[in-house]
Symmetry: C2
């Protein structure tokens, strides 16, 4: 039921921010087309779960605030991290039932080849491996090489792509957990001085402080 899943993701995002959302902006955050988000929002309005505050803004119903999720405003935190690190910071979250990829949800100070809403590989990207490394063992399968790599990620606490894949920038990434300790996604930052261990350590420690 991925269609419903996507729609609920939209509703959750709309609900997390108390400020009204525009269609295009919301579409960028959740990584869907604006036409899709528009139709979803209209349907939510028809069912009374959302309201349009003016001609071009939608907001979640007040009553929904009770089920506001635990995570708080990832975008504001991302902007803060990006400021402190002076580089691109990306938050990636899995979309339900989308095995094989994680979805980049919000990239602040974006540009480059990493864009909000693009899916990245679970196995080839640092974001994906950081995410995989924090999953329960019984949810992971793959080649012995991959399992070994994930073990090293668990020991060091971060993943990085030492052999960059085409079109993916060099990044380090750490897993992000929700307050129940379950893996909720991955937080990554661009590497500028490639290969500098000091840089990696500093960036990772800042990323950790933000999760």
């Amino acid at each position: 039921m991925q269609s419903l899943s996507r729609a609920l993701t939209v509703l959750a995002e709309l609900n997390r921010e108390d400020r009204p959302y525009g269609v295009t902006e919301l579409a960028g955050v959740v990584g869907l087309h604006k036409s899709t988000v528009h139709r979803i929002l209209v349907t939510f309005c028809e069912h009374g779960l959302a309201d349009r505050v003016d001609d071009h803004r939608y907001t979640a119903l007040d009553g929904l605030a009770a089920i506001r999720p635990a995570e708080r405003r990832p975008r504001a935190e991302l902007a803060d991290l990006s400021d402190r690190l002076g580089r691109l910071v990306v938050l990636a979250k899995p979309l339900p039932k989308t095995a094989g990829t994680v979805l980049q949800v919000a990239a602040v100070s974006g540009g480059g080849s990493v864009q909000p809403g693009h899916a990245v590989s679970l196995r080839q990207s640092a974001l994906g491996r950081a995410y995989l490394s924090a999953l329960p063992a019984d949810q992971i399968s793959g080649t012995p090489d991959l399992l070994d790599a994930l073990r090293r990620v668990r020991v060091s606490g971060f993943a990085h792509n030492s052999r960059p894949v085409a079109s993916l920038p060099r990044m380090v990434a750490v897993p992000v957990r929700d307050r129940d300790g379950r893996c909720a996604g991955a937080l990554g930052a661009e590497l500028i001085q490639t290969g500098s261990i000091e840089e990696v350590r500093r960036v990772v420690s800042v990323l950790r402080s933000g999760s």
Copy 2:
């Protein structure tokens, strides 16, 4: 976006009753297939909007009670009406975007040819005509015969099928309005002594008291 619309109907129904719902029962009430409702419920659980209280019962999240719709527990009222009338009582509601039919939502003391979850014709059944008669004039179209019949329903306040259609029991039905005055469905009761005007009047007056 009818898929999302159907799913939200399921959530609304789950939310209206505070008692947990089984998959099959819920499917009957909203008029969808078992398997469809099951998948919808699983997805809602994944997104934290619903919970499964035990192995075979689902319930809406507590926080959703805030957006509980205005209508209150139609089933309990139906059972009461059915007791007072000593006969089958049926509540029919339109499903969003399902033009041409109304859906029988809950039939208490059921059995017979009227079963929960079955769709009935808008034009041929007493339930359907009662519903049509309370719609805004600009939403009604049909043959002159139908329009004339609806006019008589409006005058008398109830619809009945004097020439019963195959497999439909003889019934009387009155429109049901929500608190905004808009037509929300129809309430019908089986006729036992067919043709008795007294019976019709008595049944209709009881039905009215219940809407």
